[in-house]
Symmetry: C2
């Protein structure tokens, strides 16, 4: 498995794709694999693009890719779709990009799904970001399929977050107001030719205005028409400015992200190994799970017993990192 890393470093795209799958799958080797990859990771800009379905994110990302390629930068895209248990293939608006960038070795696009459990999706995204930076990409884009709490959480991985809306997203904006304000470094109102675009931009500017600026950055509200390309240069410039500012100010969020990763890796390992033990009915905790299933014990009685006699945990977590 570890020779995949060598191949990936030599530019082998198949090895890179395999490594993404291994990271997603979480096996007994995941933590060790990530230890190696993390040592190879480089601090490249990570740009998140989020917004409701139909906002035109994919078209915009496609334009961004074109700009970075024109500067001869290698671009990796992570398309996060928490609603999909599938990953790997071309979901989302990838078909557009397939046409434009399919034969371009400088672009790598990968979808990440939830695989049934979305709690670890933010962690997986941060791990794939580390992998892509190790693989030599100069900029990494994270695109989500919608706006929800999972998508917002995934955006924690990004240095710069672009929130893309369209005049029709009025309801969404109302509902998610606090969350959007919290995560947006740049607001983009796309489909600017449609009715209500200026009004929405104005409302967003008022929202932004009421919020104290973070790290001397005032969140810009920009208008685009991703289809025609109008306004996209301004957004690309704003992204570059914000990334600069983040790296200049020491990228403090990355320190917090490291500690969070430590916490989350341990939680995910615990969840994964416990899940395995429960399914297979292994050990003391597996016995308790059977009693819960049969209705002989409530989940909480069983949990209290498991917590009081937690020696099973050492065996569960201490086992098998084996190469």
């Amino acid at each position: 498995m570890f020779d995949l890393i060598d191949k990936m470093l030599q530019g082998n795209r198949y090895a890179l794709a395999r490594l993404v799958s291994i990271i997603e799958d979480r096996t007994d080797h995941s933590v060790e694999l990530m230890e190696r990859i993390y040592d190879l990771a480089r601090p490249v800009p990570v740009v998140g693009i989020t917004g409701p379905p139909g906002a035109g994110k994919s078209t915009f990302v496609d334009r961004l890719i074109g700009r970075y390629r024109a500067q001869d930068q290698q671009v990796a895209v992570i398309a996060v779709d928490p609603s999909s248990p599938f990953s790997g293939g071309a979901i989302l608006g990838d078909r557009i990009r397939m046409q434009n960038h399919a034969v371009d070795e400088g672009v790598f696009i990968r979808s990440l799904g939830s695989r049934g459990h979305f709690g670890g999706l933010t962690l997986s995204t941060s791990e794939v970001v580390a992998l892509f930076s190790a693989a030599g990409f100069d900029v990494i884009l994270i695109e989500t399929v919608g706006v929800g709490q999972t998508e917002f959480s995934v955006m924690e991985v990004a240095d710069t977050v672009v929130v893309m809306l369209v005049p029709e997203s009025g309801d969404t904006v109302q509902t998610l107001k606090a969350g959007l304000l919290e995560i947006a470094d740049i607001f983009v109102v796309n489909k600017a030719d449609r009715e209500g675009a200026d009004k929405m931009a104005q409302e967003l500017r008022q929202m932004v205005h009421m919020k104290p600026p973070k790290d001397e950055w005032t969140v810009p509200v920009l208008l685009t028409s991703a289809n025609t390309g109008r306004g996209c240069d301004e957004v690309a410039q704003a992204i570059a400015d914000h990334v600069d500012q983040v790296f200049r100010s020491g990228a403090r969020h990355r320190v917090a992200a490291r500690v969070r990763a430590f916490h989350e890796v341990l939680v995910e390992e615990f969840r994964r190994r416990l899940g395995g033990a429960l399914v297979q009915g292994e050990g003391a905790v597996g016995q308790l799970a059977r009693e819960v299933r049969d209705g002989r014990k409530s989940p909480y009685t069983a949990a209290l017993e498991a917590l009081h006699n937690a020696e099973w945990l050492v065996e569960l977590l201490g086992q098998a990192d084996g190469r």
Copy 2:
């Protein structure tokens, strides 16, 4: 703390509200508290209502409440808003209901927010459901503020899931197609007087038709106008029919939910206690967290060390359930 349960059983609404907060907060006493509550829980119908913002869910829930009250049933509503760190008060469309049901002792409405960590929101919802059933409510409604993976996951707690859409939700439907089909027991197209309502209903019927029926239940697609009340009786009847069918067929999902609760309670306890140890820098794992923060160790090197010497875990989890 445990005397709150006695008061709650005597009908004290303040005690009930306090217990919800304690469940949400997760303290050292949570598992023990839930053990008591779980023993008092009763198998009452749990109905989930989900759909994108602006679909009219709150108005519809208000009408449902009115119907149940007319049959002299006591109704509890859990309004789940993963995007909000706040809970307790009147977020969502609660103001409408405040007007209609504020002085009605037979209705209890409570919002659940994510409190910064939404991984445990499904677990908290299932725990509040157990609490409300123990408190004597005859039917429990779970309403979400939007459709996202977190909301879908919360719907696992319900016996019957109503997915409410409006003609404008076209994009949402496209994006979430698989997820919506997976969770919906009943589709409702609200604002049926608007253009495109019939077309959307027809498309949904085609989607439903292509899916094999689950447990001999064919998912109905109903048209409503929650504002005027048109079609709401039909939906209420479909809900009653589906709940009947679920309980007749043995409510197998509740067995799976018990085992899942056992798993998730242990994971959440692990997450919570580990988080505390990391913040306070306690023990071996706290020392590792410091090294991660200072950049002396990568999160993955530290995680491997923590997993290899997992004795700290016994202390972490075995400690303090103390009354």
